[in-house]
């Protein structure tokens, strides 16, 4: 007789045009810690959203059996009522409220509409004790670190009488000490009969804490491994995560690699919100003319932070290190200096950091290189139109004219506008952060072709991607990044998903 607290049977979830989940099965036994593993975008978070009612019953196919009964959650309140609590990667705490207020947010300890503060703080203190937090419940959330905030989230879950706790990348933003504490707590809760599902990239953590691990790849369940019974190695888990065929989804290119253009030395960056945390730790990297270099790293490894800190210090504090162009040190303290030095950075977050969505295509394309269109501060609008129209054609931006508003374009076309903008700024080094995120397969191929063309023109291209096959398909050399350190550097001939994943999950010694 099984003793499963949860069974998800044949879950299929489709988004317009994409099958995010396909007949996924998950069985979680009462009182265990169950890990879910998979590459970014494999469907882990989608599965958890189905479970917690973020995607309500009716928007997916398949059954959820919880505590022996088929359940149909309408929303997240519904699932929380049943004792399923999900803690997201981005914490959902209100920074200006106290710990106690946050714990009872939406569940206020009130009588006839008036909050009983003594009870609120007393109950909060009890919950804090259970998660091993000694802070005063009236402390503001913004005054405690991320690690403690995570514990407050768990205390909040406990206040809702949680039976099944779901943790999405709980240690991604934590330092080693806080991570260890959190894992201890999960073990401790297990002793109190609370079942946990933990989504994590950190395989050593999974090995340390989980009883079983279910591997998801491309929206399908691959296998469930029992870590207690069999001696499962990290390599075994990696094989399950990446084991797919690389189809011919990448255009051919014969690399013509020249002199070194770009080099970064001793690059260290601290988290601006928590300056005790090193986000980038003594990184070195270099790129040659005509070379496409990949940066592989899991969520939270510091990929974007590395790129943005190099690009005019637009991220981070206490930055130290040197940037060289053609062997000469250059000053890149502001974005305009970085652009002047010949560096371009196309963001992973087009909508928030890349485009002015209420403006048209031509004005977006000209933003970074506007100087070239201007004489004594006055812009030649006709020339701007001509330039933008050339990019519209060469980049195959699908829009009736360059006067079209960028906010109305598809993701792929928006990405082409972002790339056009940076190409027009005449860079020698292009750092492309997740250049194919959120765009369809056909547009991806076009983006790869553009990358090839840029390399063919002798530019140095750095591609940051969470999709290993993509990096393997287009790069000449790949750096692996883990916890802010470059843990490996592989020429494409030696790089395999397995070897990269090993470096990407390499822990600090």
């Amino acid at each position: 007789m099984t003793n499963n607290i949860l069974e998800m049977r044949d879950i299929t979830k489709t988004f317009p045009g994409v099958k995010a989940l396909q007949n996924v099965n998950l069985q979680v036994e009462r009182g265990e810690v169950h890990a879910i593993c998979g590459e970014n975008g494999a469907g882990k978070s989608t599965l958890m959203k189905v479970l917690s009612g973020v995607y309500p019953h009716g928007t997916y196919e398949g059954d959820i059996v919880y505590e022996g009964e088929t359940v149909e959650f309408k929303d997240i309140r519904d699932s929380e009522h049943a004792g399923i609590v999900i803690i997201h990667q981005e914490l959902a705490l209100s920074p200006h409220l106290s710990i106690a207020e946050n714990i009872f947010l939406g569940n206020e300890q009130a009588k006839r509409g008036f909050i009983n503060w003594d009870k609120t703080n007393l109950e909060a203190a009890k919950l804090l004790a259970r998660v091993g937090l000694k802070d005063n419940p009236i402390t503001k959330i913004s005054h405690i670190g991320v690690g403690k905030q995570q514990l407050v989230e768990i205390a909040k879950a406990l206040s809702k009488e949680v039976k099944l706790l779901i943790l999405d990348e709980p240690t991604a933003a934590l330092n080693d000490e806080d991570s260890a504490h959190l894992l201890d707590l999960i073990r401790h809760l297990k002793g109190q009969g609370i079942t946990s599902i933990i989504i994590s990239h950190k395989l050593n953590e999974i090995k340390a804490i989980a009883d079983k691990v279910t591997i998801i790849r491309d929206g399908k369940t691959i296998e469930t491994l029992d870590l207690q019974k069999d001696d499962i190695s990290e390599e075994r888990i990696i094989k399950g995560m990446v084991g797919r065929d690389l189809e011919n989804r990448y255009p051919d290119r014969t690399p013509k690699i020249g002199e070194e253009i770009f080099r970064v030395e001793d690059w260290s960056v601290r988290d601006p919100r928590d300056t005790s945390r090193l986000v980038i730790d003594n990184a070195h990297l270099s790129v040659r003319a005509g070379e496409v270099v990949g940066i592989a790293g899991l969520m939270g490894a510091g990929r974007t932070e590395l790129a943005m800190s190099i690009f005019g210090r637009s991220y981070g504090s206490h930055i130290t290190g040197r940037v060289y162009m053609h062997g000469k040190e250059v000053r890149t303290h502001t974005v305009s200096q970085a652009i002047e030095a010949g560096i371009a950075y196309a963001t992973e977050d087009r909508k928030h950091y890349g485009l002015n969505l209420i403006e048209d295509i031509k004005r977006n394309i000209s933003t970074a290189g506007l100087k070239k269109l201007a004489k004594r501060g006055w812009v030649d609008g006709n020339q701007e139109y001509v330039v933008a129209d050339q990019y519209r054609k060469s980049m195959n931006i699908k829009a009736p004219s360059v006067g079209a508003i960028t906010g109305k374009l598809s993701g792929g076309n928006q990405q082409k506008v972002v790339l056009s903008k940076w190409m027009y700024s005449d860079p020698e080094v292009l750092i492309l952060d997740e250049p194919t995120r959120g765009i369809d397969v056909g547009a991806k191929y076009e983006i790869y072709s553009i990358i090839n063309k840029l390399a063919g023109e002798g530019k140095a291209v750095i591609v940051i991607s969470s999709e290993l096959p993509e990096l393997l398909g287009i790069c000449d050399r790949i750096y692996a990044l883990a916890e802010g350190r470059i843990t490996g550097e592989l020429p494409i001939s030696e790089a395999t998903p397995e070897s990269l994943m090993q470096y990407m999950t390499k822990e600090r010694d």
């Binding site: 652009i339 890349g354 209420i358 000209s366 070239k372 201007a374 006067g403 027009y424 005449d426």
Partner: protein, 420 residues
């Protein structure tokens, strides 16, 4: 060609082909084009409707020569403020202090020109510098310290009102030199022909015709330049209609002014400001940066735009325009008082929003703000002619502001709904 752009041109793009999709033919194309233009010119149509409405309601008293002259002079300082204000709003900020800055500058010029009897031009020059410094002060706190403009300028509203009262010691300064007063209430050569007798007052007619000719010339030149590069998307008929309408409007106003007291000096100042600032917003790097910052601050920063300096200079600019408005207002009243410029900021803000500026920033035009200001001015004037009391006027202006912005929000939501 102004600059060399060939180096960055994608290689396979030598020859240009016409874009047939930009000029769809047939009635459907024409209708589609008109609809797309309607949003741009909607605000002008609203102004026209209001003018016609009051012209009828007042039995033709609205568009008499004397009254048109009045509308322009009465609203000139709000229109000057609206130009600076819409720029601030496009960048995503607000300025609540302009009324107080205007009053303070009026007081300072009074001390210089009246109390100390120094030359009028020195008073005006110092006044403008004081305004710029006031703007720099606020720009510093907004741009470099990072305090929201709402707070900084709310404080500025109190600070400069306080400074005004300290300067004036709760009395008024009056009378101002005649030259100083010209900017607010003066007309070009009113004595060449006696007022309100000849409809052909030569200097006004000359200026009006000159303005019309310059408008036509610049429009035609722009169209030829675009045609050469093969990027003209505007149907010829529409171009002619628009131009003919604008010319007719200029000549009508010229006729009305010429039959009254002539050209108000402040109208010339305003015309220059509108032309210059429209160009700045559309064609200068600075103007582009303002739109970029308002549209997406993060993207602007990551595109190498020095957003702090742009913010700073915006406030310096606003301070200078507020000073100019203060000088015009003081000249018109012939006195600098402690309560001068009260609530000017709200009129300027309302003008910007009625003129289509977006609350979130990134959208707005100088001509829109001017039109918005004129809508308010015509409403004021028209209701006064009808004998509507000021309490009702306030009420109606409030409703108009609310409806104008609601209409804009509704329009945007519909546009968004249609595409997604």
């Amino acid at each position: 060609m102004a600059t060399d752009t060939t180096s960055s041109r994608p290689a396979d793009l030598g020859n240009r082909v016409p874009n047939p999709e930009r000029t769809p033919g047939g009635i459907r194309g024409a209708l589609g084009f008109l609809t797309s233009q309607l949003r741009q010119i909607g605000i002008f149509i609203a102004l026209l409707v209001i003018v016609v409405l009051f012209q009828i309601l007042t039995d033709g008293r609205l568009l008499t020569p004397g009254n048109v002259s009045n509308i322009i002079v009465q609203n000139s300082y709000i229109l000057i403020l609206a130009i600076g204000m819409v720029m601030i709003i496009i960048a995503g900020h607000i300025d609540l202090s302009v009324g107080s800055v205007a009053a303070f500058v009026g007081a300072v010029t009074g001390v210089i020109a009246v109390d100390n009897g120094l030359p009028w031009w020195l008073a005006i020059a110092v006044g403008l510098v004081v305004g710029a410094l006031a703007g720099a002060w606020q720009g510093f706190w907004v741009a470099f310290v990072g305090i929201p403009a709402f707070i900084v300028t709310l404080a500025g509203m109190l600070i400069f009102r306080g400074l005004t009262q300290i300067t004036l010691g709760n009395t008024q300064i009056t009378p101002f030199p005649t030259e100083y007063r010209q900017l607010g209430g003066g007309f070009l050569f009113p004595n060449v022909f006696p007022a309100a007798t000849s409809p052909y007052e030569w200097i006004t007619v000359g200026l009006g015709v000159l303005a019309a000719v310059m408008l036509v010339a610049s429009q035609v030149r722009g169209r030829i330049a675009r045609a050469k590069l093969n990027l003209e998307g505007e149907p010829f008929a529409w171009f002619v209609t628009k131009l003919a309408f604008s010319v007719a409007l200029i000549l009508l106003i010229t006729y009305l002014l010429a039959s009254s007291r002539g050209t108000p000096i402040v109208l010339i100042v305003l015309a220059v400001l509108v032309v210059v600032y429209t160009a700045v917003m559309n064609r200068s790097v600075f103007g582009r940066h303002i739109y970029a910052i308002g549209g997406n601050l993060n993207a602007a920063k990551l595109s190498g735009i020095k957003t702090r300096w742009v913010d700073f200079w915006l406030f310096v600019n606003m301070g200078t325009l507020a000073a100019l408005a203060g000088i015009v207002f003081t000249g018109r009243l012939n006195s600098a008082g402690p309560g001068a410029g009260n609530l000017f900021e709200l009129d300027a803000i309302a003008a910007s929003f009625i003129g289509g500026a977006a609350v979130q920033g990134g959208i707005g035009t100088v001509t829109g703000a001017i039109t918005g200001g004129l809508i308010m001015g015509v409403l004021n004037n028209g209701m006064s002619l009808l004998g509507v009391s000021t309490d009702y006027q306030q009420f109606i202006k409030g409703i108009v502001l609310l409806l104008a912005v609601a209409f804009d929000v509704f329009n945007k939501r519909r546009a968004a709904g249609a595409t997604k």
